[in-house]
């Protein structure tokens, strides 16, 4: 007894709202089990219904066809039934899916992580497509202004459902421009994000510098009134980079706004014109300079009190 029934569908995946046509053919050895065999259809948990048309084909098989004018499920099972000894029998089942082609991924941004030495890019995938959709971070090496295309970089495939991917160090040429974009694809179409042209070293993610108060040594006069002695050092893994840094300070209490200034390039600094005997919060951040880069976050607050 080979299998009794078989469903064929116009397309297993359609655009939401589009029609779906299906046919169910019942082999002769099964359809003759009932004097007046009737094929019934069922979509998910909805009621059983006859097809639009049922006919006996020349080869003796029985065929019923049905069209679902507007298929609005994103995923549903379509069943083909045959009545057998007074009980409806499922002869085949087809999985129908509907969704949307992917829109162009947006807000693509990348940063170079100096500790794990990889270029991580993240993006927004756009509205839900309801279909298995693959997102791939694609890139190729380029020259000065990214108008030329040199050798491609291997595709970066994110983990299932994640909207970021990290290109390992061995696939990067630092200090060279590369073109990067995200390609999205599913059964209904493909799309691509705008392209970025960047040198990984121009998008280094800097961690904040370390800031500390300098304790006056016994044999040296303490800092003048209303002044603080500070020591600071850029984030260790970025010491090879020329950077400029910004220091901001404000009294701990009273909710005053920050005052910002540029410390000297040496790694100690005397900050003056402060209120005497007052506790201050101080923070520092740095940016690669003069070469391009992004500001690091502000360092955690350092709390120091000026002398009386």
């Amino acid at each position: 007894l080979e299998s009794c029934g078989h469903i064929r569908i116009s397309a297993p995946i359609v655009h939401v709202g589009n029609p779906v046509t299906a046919s169910c053919t019942i082999s002769q050895n099964c359809s003759h089990l009932d004097p007046k065999p009737q094929i019934l259809w069922k979509l998910e948990d909805e009621a059983k219904q006859p097809g639009d048309r049922q006919q006996r084909l020349p080869d003796g098989t029985l065929e019923s066809t049905i069209t679902l004018p507007h298929f609005n499920h994103t995923r549903a099972f379509l069943f083909c039934f045959l009545q057998w000894a007074n009980s409806p029998q499922v002869l085949d089942q087809a999985e129908l899916r509907a969704g949307y082609p992917p829109t162009a991924p947006s807000n693509l941004s990348c940063f170079m992580n100096l500790t794990i030495n990889s270029l991580t890019c993240l993006w927004e995938p756009g509205p839900e497509t309801h279909l298995p959709t693959s997102y791939i971070l694609k890139s190729f090496k380029s020259r000065m202004n990214c108008r030329s295309q040199e050798d491609p970089v291997v595709d970066c495939v994110p983990e299932e459902g994640q909207s970021y991917c990290s290109i390992p160090r061995k696939h990067l040429i630092l200090y060279q421009n590369m073109v990067i974009w995200v390609q999205a694809e599913n059964a209904l179409g493909t799309s691509a994000s705008p392209q970025l042209c960047l040198d990984p070293m121009d998008v280094v993610k800097l961690e904040p510098p370390t800031l500390w108060g300098m304790k006056p040594s016994p044999d040296v006069a303490p800092p003048p009134m209303g002044c603080l002695w500070l020591g600071w050092e850029p984030w260790k893994p970025s010491l090879f980079m020329d950077q400029k840094c910004e220091l901001r300070h404000r009294p701990l209490l009273g909710g005053a706004s920050w005052e910002t200034g540029l410390p000297s390039s040496m790694h100690t600094y005397e900050l003056c014109r402060l209120l005497p005997a007052t506790a201050y919060a101080l923070q520092m951040r740095c940016i690669r300079s003069p070469l391009p880069g992004h500001w690091s976050p502000w360092s955690p607050s350092l709390e120091l009190k000026t002398t009386t």
Binding site: S3, C4, L33, F77, Q89, V90, L91, A94
Partner: protein, 175 residues
């Protein structure tokens, strides 16, 4: 009714207690698989798949020697082991059913196989030659994902009623 105590040779209490536990363990796994098949594929009524089961030739294992009216111990153990090997083979034929169901199917198959080993060992301890290959016919071949899923529903359903019969017999033998 055949009084259980009159059956020689008597079964070990440990075998009976372990077997009862193994049946309950397999039944719990079996209903979990049935629930998953219903949730994932809306295949919730085995009675709607009888014709398909018939056309695919999915076998059902008999336990006639285990009925309380005609309990015949060695025959019952042989049928129990034969049936377990049959359902183990049937579950094996379902491999590739779907990634979501594969773990539950693997666990169920291993539990059935381990129960068959428990019965085989008891038969060997009683000096009864165990069944090594299921005596039922060949395993069905499934040619579509739907047939594998439907086969899964039927296999789980037949296995549950087979185990229900086995449980009643084992319970009876425990008294």
């Amino acid at each position: 009714l055949v009084p259980a105590s009159s059956l020689t040779p008597p079964l070990s209490r440990s075998f009976l207690l372990k077997s009862l536990e193994q049946v309950r363990k397999i039944q719990a796994k079996g209903s979990a698989l049935q629930e998953q098949l219903c949730d994932l594929y809306k295949l919730c009524h085995p009675e709607e798949l009888a014709l398909l089961g018939h056309s695919l030739g999915i076998p059902r294992a008999p336990l006639s020697s285990c009925s309380q009216q005609a309990l015949q111990l060695t025959g019952c153990l042989s049928q129990l082991q034969d049936g377990l090997l049959l359902y183990q083979g049937l579950l094996q034929a379902l491999v590739g059913i779907s990634p979501e169901l594969a773990p539950a199917l693997d666990m169920l198959q291993m539990d059935v196989s381990n129960f068959a080993t428990t019965v085989q060992q008891q038969m060997e301890d009683l000096g009864v030659t165990p069944v090594l290959q299921p005596t039922q016919g060949t395993m069905p071949t499934f040619t579509s994902a739907f047939q594998r899923r439907a086969g899964g529903v039927l296999a789980a359903s037949y296995l549950q009623s087979f185990l229900e019969q086995a449980y009643r017999a084992l319970r009876y033998l425990t008294q």
